[in-house]
Symmetry: C3
Subunit: 139 residues, 3 copies
């Protein structure tokens, strides 16, 4: 039984979804683990992770816009506004999605569905450098 940890850095260019499936796969390959599972963890509270369809980019655009509408930047009830109008909505969108994803590995590959990709979901308007930790466990 092996455990292998690596860190990814993602430079975002503001709000949106960024696929990281290939980078995660590279860590699995490097780990030498054939059967087990990989945990992807994003170390921030104003960005998050989702698994999402990666075939048609319009699906991600609709999802991003839907979240934009659900959590209003100009919500008059917000009092945590010191870091800008996009800060508090970013925490809520993070809480509504995920910070960690655990994906099984069989024969050296993640058992993702055909169009299932791993995405970082940047919720801030400004570009950010995001830290993502990948942990592979197995044999």
């Amino acid at each position: 039984m092996k455990i292998f940890t690596d860190e990814l850095r993602l430079q975002t260019s503001g709000k949106g979804t960024y696929e990281i499936s290939d980078q995660v796969h590279r860590v699995i390959r490097e780990s030498g683990v054939s059967n087990g599972q990989v945990t992807v963890f994003l170390c921030h509270t104003s960005a998050s992770l989702i698994l999402m369809e990666n075939a048609d980019p319009t699906a991600r655009r609709d999802l991003e816009r839907w979240f934009d509408r659900l959590v209003d930047e100009n919500d008059p009830d917000f009092i945590h506004t010191l870091e800008g109008p996009d800060d508090m909505p970013s925490h809520i969108r993070m809480a509504l999605t995920r910070s960690s994803e655990v994906i099984p590995i069989i024969d050296g590959n993640m058992v993702l569905g055909t169009w299932q990709g791993i995405f970082a979901f940047e919720h801030r308007r400004a570009p950010h450098n995001r830290r993502i930790v990948v942990t592979v466990m197995g044999k």
Copy 2:
């Protein structure tokens, strides 16, 4: 330390929640693991996983209807509509819930709460055959 992976197949009959706790428990028993954890992973982007009360079915009906209302099938903003009006809402409902659940195992049993069950959440109207991968790690 042992790692054991198995695959479940779930035939859904359209939108709704389907309990899979017993099937997951069977994989744990088969694995021979007494102490550790089980990861349940659903390999799709138009269905998801939730842990939910499994005593009173009306709780699930209310939850299903609430998600139906929150993510409107006739949202005029959606542009990803080629696969039908229930496709884009299914991706959003998936992102709002979960694709993986990790549950501790003590003495051969999941430490679920008294009325806490594991459910697949089908978001498409048409019946689908869903693939769920169960990974047991422990001793």
Copy 3:
């Protein structure tokens, strides 16, 4: 490869977020694991887990209020109302957030972001005693 499980008990005083990062860290220290990951699991369907900013408490207040507004206690569509008006909303808020969180451990510490804390999210109005299981795996 080691696996270590411990149970936390959290006494809540009603709706709100309760940081448990220190208690989780104590279990990791006790486990003796330096590199691996910790899984935090909450055994209830009317409370949940989130990772959230732990610097400015107003951020949590905004988040709590936002969830209160999104899932209305007086929703006339709810039929699962026997356990009180805050019961059904609590299940939905749980499904929208998380029941398990998996966090990497490097050199004996969780790799949480600078202001990223682990919180139990109590959704019921009455005080509850919540059971949280912490599983540490690694070397």
